[in-house]
């Protein structure tokens, strides 16, 4: 079994009478020490997947209907809340999209890093030792340790995201989930923060899920790639499967990569594909992608395709049914 193994995860949000089908039989695997790029348009379900792993879905609206999440051999869905708290911030950390809002405005950045350390202080280190570790973490992300006494509003966006990263990495987690960590930052800062994350990842020997809609980031940082569409993984495989060959390709991914002749191209953003993502409260029958698919057949309208694998490269599309035999 993989280090992180998500199988057939199904998640809905219920707001009043509406039901949003955010994840539908979502399956994903990640090996120790690897970085997985989770790619998809806004609303595809990327954040929902991350929150489901952490069990941080909005309490009243979000609900997991089925599936399993296994992390390092443990079934996360069946853990007690206090066992889950040991995992959160200790073994799995998460970085949220917007650094402007993800720090508490009334606590100093030092206090916020310290808190994580204190919550997961398994070795019973003294406060002084923990504060030394705070300094270490700040230095690690390139912030002068003296600034631990400052409040979040005294930092720029890029610096805030560094603080967020310091919080996430403070307890040396085995898995880091970064939800569009650089989307809110401007381009020059983006590159710095990404380079730093990559370096820290190597240094600390973590696994990472890099959620993004920027194929450039995927190309730079990821070992594996998974593409989300309407709450399901429609294609997943290695970096080579995605960037080195283009024969085997889900029609949606083909569209995404349409404008990218090679990795060095400047146009690395997802290219918009004609049509819109389906309404998650009312998903289409059959293949979720069929209303936008250039290769759509009669069968696609009624029958939902299953995942077809070849050498670790998985595609959920009827076109690839026969080749495995």
């Amino acid at each position: 079994m993989s280090f992180l193994d998500i199988r057939d995860l199904t998640v809905v949000y219920t707001n009043g009478r509406e039901t949003v089908h955010a994840l539908n039989d979502f399956s994903l695997r990640l090996e120790r020490g690897k970085t997985l790029g989770l790619v998809g348009e806004t609303g595809a379900g990327k954040t929902t997947a991350a929150l489901s792993i952490m069990r941080l879905l909005p309490e009243r609206t979000g609900r997991v209907l089925g599936g399993s999440v296994t992390f390092d051999g443990a079934d996360l869905r069946s853990l007690k809340e206090e066992e889950m708290r040991v995992v959160r911030g200790g073994k799995i950390s998460m970085i949220f999209q917007d650094p402007m809002t993800s720090l508490n405005p009334v606590l100093t950045v030092g206090e916020q890093i310290f808190e994580t350390l204190e919550l997961h202080n398994i070795e019973n280190r003294s406060h002084q030792q923990l504060w030394e570790r705070v300094d270490e973490m700040l230095a690690l992300v390139g912030i002068p340790p003296e600034r631990k006494k400052d409040y979040p509003h005294q930092f720029s966006g890029g610096m805030k995201q560094r603080v967020v990263i310091a919080i996430a990495l403070a307890c040396s987690p085995q898995l880091l989930i970064a939800d569009e960590p650089t989307t809110a930052l401007d381009v020059t800062i983006q590159a710095q923060v990404l380079a730093m994350m990559d370096e820290l990842k190597q240094k600390l020997d973590m696994s990472m899920i890099m959620i993004t809609h920027d194929l450039g980031i995927v190309a730079q940082t990821c070992d594996d790639v998974a593409v989300v569409y309407a709450g399901e993984i429609i294609e997943s495989g290695s970096f080579e499967d995605f960037f080195m060959q283009d024969k085997r390709r889900h029609p949606y991914t083909r569209g995404l990569f349409g404008s990218i002749p090679n990795i060095d191209s400047r146009e690395r953003r997802l290219t918009p594909i004609e049509g819109l993502m389906p309404d998650p409260t009312n998903l289409p029958e059959g293949c979720r992608f069929h209303p936008r698919c250039p290769d759509c057949t009669e069968r696609c309208r009624t029958e939902r395709p299953t995942a077809h694998e070849r050498g670790g490269h998985v595609i959920r599309c009827h076109l690839f049914e026969k080749e495995g035999e």
Binding site: R85, S102, N104, V106, L107, H153, I167
Partner: protein, 310 residues
């Protein structure tokens, strides 16, 4: 920071002048003649004229106003028409009662309001929340005097548990404090609930949970501290207002506080006392508001650093 305080103190001066003018003017146009109040019915003509001259009432409005300001600047606020003693000799002894009532009221209402507000927010849409929200809506909107009377009827007249008036012991303060604290607790509970719900939606709350913080820690350390920011201002303002003495409460429960004193002085047309107490209360109110703002700036890091940079 000191510049800011100085500026705020300077702004108070014109405000106090305005207050003096307005009260002076109102006391001037309302019916009732202080001389008649002092001398009773049918006094000899000569006595009336002597007293009018002595009190300066024979002079035109603006001259009297100007004289008042001139004396006030020398901290001479005149003699009470009734007692013929300096105004502040009458005001000071009333202050402790009002102060005690204000401190108790604000403490009770803030503690009660914040706790109930947190419960409501944490248990959003539960039966507890709905009940609390409904009850606080009612108590925030009932008239003050009605609540006073209901408390007296229930706890003094029917149950004979508590005295309905007077100041003998701390027990005498229970009903007045409840009467003043309940409506503002209800108001504060509603504000706290809204604030908490707003804060709990913020991303940094999710960050706190993602760190592995317990729900208790998330609520009390991360959410409450943020939600309390506006509540500090509200509680501070209501304390400043309570220092002005709640006239209705003090009157109904027979508490010899400033509010009650002003009421009787207004009825007796004791202009110097009314003027003196009004000035006293406006200064206290403005100083309190300044302290509240400073406290808020001290607690709120965003404002604090802006201050210290100045």
């Amino acid at each position: 920071m000191w510049k800011y305080v100085l500026r705020r103190l300077l702004v108070m001066i014109p405000i106090i002048f305005l207050v003096i003018f307005i009260v002076f003017f109102i006391m001037n146009i309302t019916p009732g003649d202080p001389v008649q109040m002092i001398l009773g019915n049918d006094p000899p003509q000569q006595a009336v004229e002597d007293l009018r001259r002595e009190l300066g009432l024979d002079q035109p409005f603006f001259v009297r106003f100007f004289n008042y300001i001139k004396n006030a600047l020398k901290l001479d606020f005149g003699l009470s028409y009734r007692s013929r003693r300096p105004v502040f000799e009458g005001i000071w002894p009333k202050f402790p009662t009002t102060l005690l009532l204000a401190v108790l009221t604000v403490t009770v209402s803030t503690v009660l309001g914040v706790i109930l507000g947190i419960i409501s927010a944490v248990k959003e849409y539960s039966a507890v929340d709905v009940t609390l929200t409904f009850t606080s809506l009612i108590f925030a909107s009932v008239p003050g005097f009605w609540l006073c009377l209901m408390l007296i009827i229930v706890f003094s007249l029917k149950l004979h548990l508590l005295p309905s008036s007077g100041v003998g012991s701390i027990r005498h303060f229970i009903l007045p404090v409840l009467a003043s604290a309940i409506p503002s607790a209800a108001y504060l509970a509603r504000i706290t609930r809204t604030q908490m719900l707003e804060v709990m939606r913020q991303e940094y709350i999710r960050t706190a949970r993602a760190k592995g913080a317990t729900e208790k820690r998330v609520i009390f350390k991360h959410a409450l501290k943020n939600a309390l920011m506006p509540i500090i201002t509200i509680a501070g303002t209501s304390f400043a207002a309570a220092l002005g003495g709640s006239m209705i409460t003090e009157r109904i429960f027979g508490l010899p506080g400033i509010g009650n004193y002003i009421l009787t002085s207004v009825q007796a047309k004791d202009v110097p006392v009314v003027m003196g107490s009004t000035i006293f209360l406006s200064v206290i109110f403005m100083v309190m508001m300044l302290l509240v703002d400073l406290a808020y700036a001290y607690i709120n890091p965003t404002l604090r650093s802006r201050f210290s940079r100045k």
